[in-house]
Symmetry: C2
Subunit: 396 residues, 2 copies
């Protein structure tokens, strides 16, 4: 949850940059497809998630951890990783592909490192365990570097980095994922979207929060172009021959995302290298599955056995005044002259912080109709109280 | 220097992929502009570098460290960072902007971290000191994380990662640099090309060596298009209005490189975020200069006061068999079906390893005429023995 200071600062930022942020947000679900749906309070969304997970015998504490993770994604406007994935997690547990009761176990450790077996537990359970351990180690010796095997999808990677942030530390987290990305020059996918994230504290609750897939875009963005019947730019995805395509339908069917940088001429091999970096920190260090051996997206036929990596760094072990320099640099960037006056220069994390303020102003999250229908269906299937909505209308 | 096994493996790789690697290398200096110049042995190139640096009162040990760094770049085909920069380092020392005698000092440390003052010493001296310290800490507690302020240009970032690699560790290094990159949406540059690198060991001397600027390309690539009077692709650089340009001449004059990913529509903000990540690890953690405050490229009016970060990780602290999994994944990637059969799928570091083999086969490095002229000029200015060349002709 944001502190009061954060909210004031974000409000100040919004008062200057509101139009631009609004434009960013217009590419998200809340302000487009969802205009006519009722609002859901953050608390109620969380309640529904907990109930659904408990209905498939997830212990309360584990269900709460998952709900905190998922609701935070929706609160930040990252709808792909929130309620949208609840059904998938429920299915994983129901099918026995994921053990909702499992508790992670430390296999080996030093003052600065730990190798953890997630024991096929829920992603948030493994992630929280590992990042807490990394934070403890960073508080003791300056750095904590924890790798887990036997994990499951852990939601927004930034969630774990922010755990470190809340304790005044720098936080990083990485996960491997099902194959979706084509290594430069290759016809097929071999690595996942493999996200990486870094959170770093500034002054007065300010922060830098980078949370990015190492592919140019996620599949969701292609899906949106498809829905609009519009082409995609070169550099997003490949056709079946391994060439960059602008056809959203073909891109979606082939399912080969391009690494950040796109084609070889625009240095796509760097994004491919970054995808490998994430895989090295996750699957290769932890001994989980890796790259092409990870199960297909959405499959519950096998356990996921994902690898994840969590790093915490204590800035106090280096030059004093970290937060001050961090805020100064972010302030410099925010005040740079933009090419288009209506699009101010942003810093990683700005759009998500602004979205939280919008949700607070509106009084709740506005899910799209399709999502609400899915929730209703899930409530019936699992025999839990359906998602309740707020009665008043948002005026933001 | 490569082990015998590495050379055999690279030779095997080359025997399969020679044409493709040759094509990669054809974009480098050795096989194009330099066809008619004489060869220089690696040993002689190193001797010349040491002599030039000693001529401006650099202690032998420090001159050797710099020469090892620069000659390794040329040996790997990264000509921009080798002999090409010798004059710049000499000028920095002559002008008093860099203190060639300075020895780095530890300001603060824990079992896993160190904060170092480079004391304005030569980049290789600071880099070697910091990475050695990181390696020692990784050997003790699994991770070593060292940040230095008061440093200078430290050549190819990969050099330091490879120091860790040689000891069976994962190595990373980062440096901030003079402003050249425009944050997404901005008209001007505020961050450097800010490279990041990761080296990781496979089996039998195999390795993954990622060494990349967080901009789409370096200035040198634009310079080459300019020389050929050819356009550049979108996503490389901006015009004076902050828009992506295809005009190599304008791009070169404006000097605003775009972050990896290029324009906003192709997720250039991720490359901008990565440039920030490097700056956070370098300038912000170490308390050196950062971002827009770093001196202009090539200036000797002020000290550089660069920030750098060095990380070593011991894979033995995690799942056994790291090298085996690493080699397996690289092998999988090398054997993927390429979109164009003449362009096999590569892994980060392949082209540079192949280049070393070509240099060995040729018996030396083939510098372009312009570089040889500069060396002759430098020899006269500094009164050192000019660079000597081999008499025989390369048959590769």
């Amino acid at each position: 949850m944001p502190t009061e200071t954060t909210t004031i600062l974000v409000n100040q930022f919004l008062s200057v940059h509101f139009d631009s942020v609004q434009r960013v947000l217009n590419t998200r679900t809340m302000s487009t497809d969802a205009a006519e749906t009722p609002l859901t309070s953050v608390k109620e969304a969380r309640r529904f998630m907990i109930d659904c997970l408990k209905a498939v015998d997830t212990p309360t504490e584990h269900a709460e951890a998952m709900a905190d993770l998922l609701v935070e994604a929706d609160y930040r406007g990252i709808f792909s990783h929130g309620m949208n994935r609840l059904g998938m997690y429920v299915n994983d547990v129901k099918a026995g592909a994921c053990d909702a009761k499992a508790v992670p176990k430390i296999l080996q450790e030093t003052p600065a490192t730990a190798w953890v077996d997630g024991q096929n537990g829920l992603g948030a359970v493994v992630g929280n365990f590992c990042m807490s351990l990394a934070i403890e180690k960073a508080k003791n010796v300056g750095v904590g570097w924890v790798c887990a095997k036997g994990s499951n999808h852990y939601g927004i990677a930034g969630m774990y980095s922010m755990m470190a942030l809340e304790r005044g530390l720098l936080g990083m987290s990485f996960t491997n994922t099902s194959p979706f990305m084509s290594p430069t020059r290759s016809k097929k996918a071999a690595l996942g979207t493999n996200p990486l994230t870094l959170a770093a504290p500034g002054e007065n609750g300010e922060s830098f929060i980078l949370d990015m897939a190492t592919t140019t875009v996620a599949v969701g963005k292609i899906e949106m172009q498809k829905r609009k019947d519009e082409p995609i730019p070169h550099g997003w995805a490949q056709d079946s021959e391994g060439e960059s395509t602008t056809d959203a339908f073909e891109a979606y069917d082939v399912g080969c995302l391009m690494p950040l940088g796109g084609r070889e001429i625009t240095s796509g091999y760097k994004g491919y290298g970054l995808g490998m970096l994430v895989e090295i920190f996750c699957g290769i260090l932890s001994g989980s599955l890796y790259g092409p051996y990870i199960r297909k997206w959405g499959s519950t036929a096998d356990v996921a056995n994902l690898g994840q990596c969590f790093i915490a760094i204590d800035p106090k072990c280096f030059a004093p005044g970290f937060e001050c320099r961090m805020s100064d640099l972010m302030n410099y960037l925010h005040n740079m002259e933009p090419a288009d006056p209506s699009k101010p220069v942003l810093v990683a994390g700005d759009p998500e912080k602004a979205y939280k303020v919008l949700v607070d102003k509106a009084g709740g999250i506005r899910y799209i109709k399709n999502q609400l229908d899915t929730c209703l269906q899930l409530a019936k299937e699992l025999n839990v109280v359906p998602l309740q909505h707020l009665q008043h209308t948002c005026d933001c």
